[in-house]
Amino acid sequence: MDSKRRDVLKAGGGASVLALAVAAGLLKPGEALAQEWNKSAFDAKTFADTVKALGGGGSTESKDIQITAPEIAENGAVVPISVETKLPKTRSIAIMIEKNPNALSANFDIPDGTDPFVTTRIKMAQTSNVYALVKADGKYFHAVKEIKVTIGGCGG
């Protein structure tokens, strides 16, 4: 009970701060709650289109990006994927699944002081190439790894 009340209070406080920001003209109303979300990148179907939607002209394959993931994922609903890079000035790491309905799964912004490393778990519809796209020093680089899926994660 108590924790719920606290949440309501918190949510209320957050909303008023946002309202102030809108009033001050810092944020456009539509953006206030949505934050930044690159719809065109998440709607893109292919690796190349996603790179374009993220603002890159193209991407170079790099040996300095390592994808750690199982060769065979028994359950496509939960595939652990880890991406680490040695590229200097890494700004973002994106994970894409070539044969999913939409390629882009997640895009992480890496500020200064944060290791160019991230692990998460994603859904895979079927056996597919998995791309890690890294933006470093203003350029895009990628690595690719095939993950075999026994049971797809988007069925039903």
Binding site: A11, L33, N38, A77, D109, I122, G155
Partner: protein, 104 residues
């Protein structure tokens, strides 16, 4: 309101290692229920992690992040006892913020 996140933040050398488990259904919008009706998409779009007023990780997610998402990363500059704050917002506008103390 969604369930709380489970957050672990530990010092590993001079870095803070953060592991987060978020409770969220991450519905893709592609599945159908027993009657053949499409289940609407419901998924987290933005995740932000802050430490002493500075963003240490921010992410945009699509529908293909797994249900009950997990994130693991490391950052420099944290000390034991300080707080790590995590906020997510989903496509329906629901949001939740939780924080954890950094353990030694």
């Amino acid at each position: 309101m969604a369930d709380p996140m489970r957050i672990r933040a530990n010092m590993v050398g001079d870095k803070v290692e953060v592991k987060v488990l978020i409770a969220h259904e991450m519905e893709t919008g592609l599945r159908k229920d027993a009657n053949g009706n499409t289940i609407p998409a419901h998924f987290i779009r933005n995740v932000t992690v802050t430490h002493s007023g500075k963003t240490v990780l921010s992410a945009q997610w699509g529908t293909s992040v797994s249900r009950n998402p997990f994130v693991h990363f490391r950052f420099k500059g944290g000390k034991p006892g300080e707080k790590v704050t995590i906020t997510w917002i989903d496509n329906g506008g629901d949001k939740r913020t939780d924080e954890a103390n950094i353990a030694a």
